[in-house]
């Protein structure tokens, strides 16, 4: 079940030992000091190893099969969550989950891409790649939030919108474009977190927010590294090269103003401790929501407009 990437092996081994010791320490205090020592060491080693990761290795982490997905965060961050289904036009899309819940006592709307872990789940979730119905469900949710004045939290985790025959027939382009436009004119707070993969337009359709947070080992890109390599060098094997040149990791996103904040992950990555990852994200989300609470409804729309208005690099 545990999936380990080659470069994370030393870190994972240490984290596993910490975990074992933690269990022992819970029964016998004598292990307490040893536990503290080992915890510190593991954290330090993890930071050291992960600080040197290549962009492609970070991409691999963002796709880690054990990485927390939207539903893992929903269950930890929101109370009374009720999932809402369907686009009222054609179908329910499992690649995108949505619903209403309570965040620190306040009613909110939640929308996020959802990947699957087992092969059965992956099929149901279509590997987190929505069809137009997914985006139309998202639009329904944004409009629901607008009507009842509820903040919106979105979680981005997709390789991209599904490039399928049916998706084209049913207007994938229109669905994504409409989702972007609808988000841009909402007058409620919108906070987006890139929790894993931020793959192109399929990601941006959930990303027109007042605040955009990115997890430390997530990426956000105009095209997947594999797709870029295939176009530039006709070879997906040069994906690591593309990943480096596209500048898609969290520090670059902060530098370009794409992200407002990087949310640090637990030692060894979010997949090592879902609870801790959710706790860290919770703090950032709460701060972002509080930060937006002074803005009027029109002010929120204006804030979002200006946020995206300044993105780009040109000579004038």
């Amino acid at each position: 079940m545990a999936h380990i990437l080659a470069f994370e092996r030393p870190v994972v081994e240490l984290i596993t030992r910490v975990r074992e010791l933690r269990e022992l320490a819970s029964e016998d205090d004598r292990f307490g000091s040893e536990l503290k020592r080992l915890e510190d060491k593991a954290a330090r080693l993890a930071r050291e190893v992960f600080a040197k990761l290549s962009p492609m290795q970070k991409v691999q982490l963002s796709r880690h099969p054990n990485r927390p997905y939207t539903n893992d965060y929903i269950s930890r961050l929101f109370e009374d969550f009720v999932e809402l289904h369907g686009d009222r036009r054609f179908a329910e899309d499992g690649a995108l989950v949505a619903g209403v819940g309570r965040y620190h006592g306040r009613s909110v709307v939640v929308v996020g891409h959802q990947k699957g872990r087992t092969s059965k789940e992956q099929k149901l979730r279509n590997f987190g790649m929505p069809n137009p119905e997914g985006y139309r469900k998202a639009i329904r949710m944004y409009e629901l939030a607008e009507r009842f004045n509820l903040p919106i939290f979105t979680f981005v985790d997709t390789m991209g919108a599904y490039p399928g025959l049916g998706a084209e027939e049913r207007g994938q382009s229109e669905a994504i474009g409409a989702s972007i436009e609808v988000m841009s004119r909402m007058t409620v707070p919108i906070i987006t977190t890139v929790i894993g993969e931020g793959g192109s337009g399929g990601a941006l359709a959930l990303g027109v927010a007042n605040r955009v947070l990115v997890l430390e080992f997530s990426y956000y890109s105009v095209i997947t590294p594999e797709g870029c390599a295939a176009i530039l060098w006709k070879s997906a094997e040069r994906a690591p090269d593309a990943a480096a040149r596209l500048r898609i990791t969290a520090p670059h996103l902060l530098e370009f103003g794409i992200a407002d904040q990087i949310v640090e992950e637990p030692p060894g990555g979010a997949h090592q401790d879902h609870d801790d990852a959710a706790k860290r994200l919770d703090r950032a989300l709460y701060a972002a929501l509080t930060d937006l609470s002074d803005l009027s409804r029109d002010g929120l729309r204006e804030d979002r407009y200006q946020r995206f208005r300044k993105l780009g690099a040109f000579v004038a």
Partner: protein, 318 residues
């Protein structure tokens, strides 16, 4: 008060020849030039050598639709529509200006917005060199031109992608210009006509290109409040991030015949579904059948159709 355009002249009937690349004969003869109307008068001298180069060199060109050989002069005078089969060949943005705008005149906006290289991108060739080459080849500063113009007397804010410029890809400059197009149209209360022909977001500017989708759509969203029509014209080809932003969200979407328009490229879809795509997939007729566009307008009727729509949506009495 806007003058009505002169009634179109009918030079005669052109029969509909098979178009082998869509796998069969024309199913919609009316849409494929069964009846042609007069195209605006133009002389060969009007087209520059740059334009010709961008659509193929030499004095003769073989029609990609039916294989008949025409002189470039003849094709150019017909706005690159094959006289035999009605196939629409790609056309430079300077030709679109002549086809659609009164006197082909555009008062350009924001030509001073020019590309930079935020990622210092290089893939065997430097991005800055690619830009210089595209500029030299097309004579354009970037992949979109915007400005104020008149269409059959109606003042409009006009934009047109130039596919010859790095595949009409949308980087920061294109995003900024399109955004300014909608912002200016909002403040000047002008209708917008935007011609799309683009492979999508420009890879060489990475994530900043992607963000242009959000920027342009936000500006379009704001433009809606002045209740002026936004007519999106979809030309061959329009895909990716441009298809997934302004292209399909016109108040009315007009597409030229037999254009390829879609989100994902055909090769990507084929490798995803592991099967060959059906003939005509993502073509104009396919889009019409699936409810994604309002109308197909051949070049011979494009200006008239745009005029009708602008006039009707503005609620003008005639």
């Amino acid at each position: 008060m806007t003058p009505r355009p002169a009634a179109p002249k009918l030079p005669g009937i052109v029969s509909c020849a098979p178009r082998p690349h869509v796998g069969g004969s024309c199913r919609r003869p009316l849409l494929a030039f069964e009846i042609t109307v007069a195209l605006p008068e133009r002389t060969p001298a009007q087209s520059t050598s740059t334009e010709k180069r961008s659509v193929g060199q030499g004095l003769f060109r073989k029609c990609t639709g039916c294989g008949v050989v025409n002189t470039v002069e003849d094709l150019s005078s017909r706005f690159y529509v094959c006289p035999t089969c009605g196939h629409h060949h790609p056309m430079a943005s300077s030709d679109w200006r002549k086809l659609v705008l009164d006197d082909g005149a555009l008062e350009r906006w924001d030509e001073h917005i020019l590309p930079s290289d935020p990622l210092e991108f290089e893939d065997g060739k430097r991005y800055v060199d690619r830009i210089s080459r595209a500029q030299a080849m097309t004579g354009a500063t970037e992949a979109v031109e915007i400005g104020r113009a008149r269409l059959s007397g109606i003042p409009i804010a006009y934009g047109a992608y130039n596919f010859a410029f790095m595949g009409g890809s949308m980087g920061s400059v294109v995003g900024e210009r399109i955004t300014r197009l909608f912002e200016r149209a909002t403040s000047d209360r002008l209708p917008v006509v935007l011609l799309h022909a683009s492979g999508g977001a420009r890879m060489q500017e990475g994530i900043l290109s992607l963000m242009q989708m959000a920027k342009t759509m936000s500006a379009l969203g704001r433009f809606r409040s002045v209740r002026k029509p936004y007519i999106s014209v979809l030309l061959h080809p329009t895909t990716g991030g441009v298809a997934a932003s302004t292209a399909f969200l016109g108040d009315v979407n007009v597409v030229e015949p037999n254009a390829t328009i879609g989100f994902a490229g055909p090769r990507v879809i084929e490798s995803t579904i592991n099967a060959k795509l059906p003939a005509g997939f993502q073509r104009s007729e396919f889009l019409l059948d699936h409810g994604m566009v309002d109308t197909i307008a051949p070049r011979s009727e494009m200006k008239q159709r745009l005029y009708q729509l602008l006039s009707l949506l503005s609620g003008e009495a005639t």
